[in-house]
Symmetry: C2
Subunit: 122 residues, 2 copies
């Protein structure tokens, strides 16, 4: 289940961090506005390069994602963030790929992240 | 040396990701506006809780940081980001602590990150 507040965050622009760990811990960024969420609650992220992220996921599919926005109210004041734990995989075809490719013609693959835990951190 | 464009990014609000790896890879966030940079180019970040980050750094001081802003021009279009590799340490007193404590009275420590590499990623 994707929390309502997280959907609200995604409506505001911001920097997303995607952390993977294969041989070496790596972090790559995307924008809030690039993320689409499927009916099943899978995060779809367009991959332009993200080569190191892809290599890492092949070795270990565990992914950490953070997103946030200063424009959405958090626990204490304006500004909230989410830490998403999940598993990732790159797809090069299929329905999710086609949907994303339409919005992001430059992408070479779609990174699909299935959240196992979503935690509001702020 | 801190790139001019990174200083420009820090003038815009956004979400910062701080990745550490001790026993378990962890990511925590802060805001662009919370970061101060010393004359020597050390990043100063106020730590409210960040307990897991602190534990991790005690075991391994390697830190990855990403910052970005959609409002600053990148390589291809609007929006740029930086990946900073460096080493981190928590300080509970001293000049850097005092400077930060004045702006962030809620902080319990200052996280000092010395960059070894700063790369513009977008």
């Amino acid at each position: 289940m994707i929390p309502e507040k997280m959907l609200e965050v995604l409506k505001n622009e911001g920097v997303v961090a995607i952390v993977t760990q294969g041989q070496e811990v790596h972090v790559v960024n995307t924008w809030n506005s690039y993320i689409k969420i499927t009916e099943e609650g899978t995060l779809l992220i367009p991959a332009g390069s993200m080569n190191k992220t892809e290599e890492n996921i092949k070795k270990k599919d565990k992914v950490l994602v953070t997103i946030g926005s200063r424009e959405v109210e958090g626990f204490h004041s304006m500004g909230t963030g989410f830490l998403i734990k999940g598993t990732g995989e790159f797809s090069y075809e299929g329905e999710d790929y086609d949907i994303m490719k339409e919005s992001f013609p430059w992408m070479r693959a779609v990174l699909r992240i299935k959240p196992s835990e979503i935690k509001q951190t702020l």
